[in-house]
């Protein structure tokens, strides 16, 4: 749940900022906005200063610096000069915060969206791979090629039915 849903009363200016934040996309997965990803934790305005609180997804994700810069550019374009962007680590970001809309967009883009969290992060060795649905033909008859993919957030899979390789946005 993000702050727009939490706070019933938000000012017109906050609303405008939230709306603009929805337009900022993840540089590595351009179909997802940073609000779809659940990266923006809060927007606060006090004494004329705007504070945007963001949380990192994966520790090593280079996209975070770019996202931060894009937020800066967006605030400038709204004519806001007095602001700060702060990083908040706790509670730790999880793929559960990705919006349903975001998951739908990922699938349409050809990336399998993350499964529910309880299925992963099992430290047992050689465990049965979780069933991941092929974003192309919707078959669950797929297998994992590598736990690590082209970016920190993805694993490599292949569909055993349509034979297409695909990325899976892994649970976190």
């Amino acid at each position: 749940m993000n702050a727009t849903q939490q706070n019933i009363k938000i000012s017109a200016e906050e609303k405008e900022i939230w709306k603009a934040l929805e337009q900022i996309t993840d540089p590595e997965i351009p179909v997802l906005s940073i609000t779809d990803l659940g990266i923006v934790r809060n927007v606060k305005i006090s004494d004329g200063e705007v504070e945007i609180i963001i949380t990192p997804t994966y520790s090593g994700c280079p996209a975070m610096d770019v996202i931060s810069m894009n937020i800066r550019m967006m605030l400038f374009s709204l004519g806001i000069r007095n602001f700060k962007i702060s990083q908040q680590l706790a509670p730790a970001w999880t793929t559960d915060w990705m919006s349903e809309e975001g998951k739908k967009k990922l699938k349409e883009y050809g990336i399998a969206p993350p499964n529910a969290k309880q299925q992963v992060c099992n430290e047992k060795l050689f465990i049965q791979d979780e069933a991941v649905q092929c974003p192309h033909c919707e078959s669950y008859h797929t297998h994992r090629v590598s736990e690590f993919g082209s970016t920190a957030c993805k694993a490599l899979y292949v569909c055993d039915d349509c034979k297409e390789p695909f990325d899976y946005f892994k649970c976190h």
């Binding site: 990192p56 994966y58 520790s59 090593g60 994700c61 280079p62 680590l89 706790a90 509670p91 730790a92 970001w93 992060c121 099992n122 430290e123 047992k124 060795l125 050689f126 090629v145 590598s146 736990e147 690590f148 993919g149 082209s150 920190a152 490599l156 976190h172």
Partner: protein, 250 residues
């Protein structure tokens, strides 16, 4: 004392940065594409974790230090990483074993640290633990594959055990800043981590049909800045640009 917290935070940062840097040397040289990607992804995670710790240390120091100055402008004796993480990559077996032994340590350490009394250290640990989970499982599976694989892969892993085992004792010997900080409830208790780590290592080595080594003489000193010759070479390469062109950005 704030000094202890700064030293401990730097120790955690240096561990992650140096191992991340070592792993990054594999970029473009991995045995197969997927594993090249895996080891460099692990590098990225570790360097990302190091950044959180350096940012926090810089904030605590409040003397104009930044995450970059702490990584790029400190010298050999100021680095507080364990000797294990600075050891050369060797072959794939040695890199895998080093990763496994360290990931198992980091896993139980972060697990403890996430309930420590320092909120920022706890938050970094909670965040990073999810990533270490992947590192531990991946490296464990590789130890099993190599140990229980061919005669050649087994021989190489046995060599790696011989080369790395002497650097493990240090992991569980607290430095003065750790002991002091633990009294305030702000560090991970190494005596609690040790048995869990031993159990995990034993399980995986047994699964890999490898003997658990007998006690050997243990090297120490890394946590207090006394390093093997290898760290200097890492720093020379890693810090060259900032030393030659101070403040350079791209």
């Amino acid at each position: 004392m704030k000094e202890n917290l700064i030293n401990y935070t730097l120790h955690l940062a240096d561990n992650a940065l140096i191992l991340g840097h070592r792993n990054s040397e594999w970029c473009g040289h991995g045995p197969v594409l997927e594993q090249d990607i895996a080891i460099t992804n692990i590098s990225l995670d570790l360097i990302g974790q190091a950044r959180y710790f350096y940012q926090y240390a810089a904030q605590l120091k409040a003397d104009g230090s930044t995450e970059d100055s702490l990584a790029y402008l400190r010298d050999n004796r100021e680095f507080k990483n364990c000797l294990l993480v600075e050891q050369p990559n060797g072959d794939w077996a040695k890199t895998i074993l080093r990763q496994f032994l360290f990931s198992a340590y980091q896993f139980f350490l972060y697990e403890e640290l996430r309930s420590c009394k320092d909120k920022q250290l706890a938050a970094i640990a909670e965040k990073s633990l999810k990533e270490v989970n992947y590192h531990l499982r991946w490296s464990s599976e590789w130890v099993v594959r190599l140990g229980d694989g061919t005669a050649e892969s087994r021989k190489r892993l046995m060599n790696a055990i011989d080369e790395l085992w002497m650097y493990l004792g240090e992991l569980f010997q607290p430095a003065v800043y750790e002991t002091e900080l633990l009294k305030e409830g702000k560090a991970a208790d190494l005596s609690k981590i040790n048995p869990k780590w031993e159990q995990k290592v034993k399980e995986v080595l047994e699964e890999a049909t490898l003997p658990v080594p007998e006690a050997v003489f243990q090297q120490t000193g890394g946590k207090d800045g006394r390093h093997t010759e290898y760290l200097g070479y890492i720093l020379a390469e890693m810090q060259f640009l900032q030393r030659a062109y101070p403040g350079c950005e791209w």
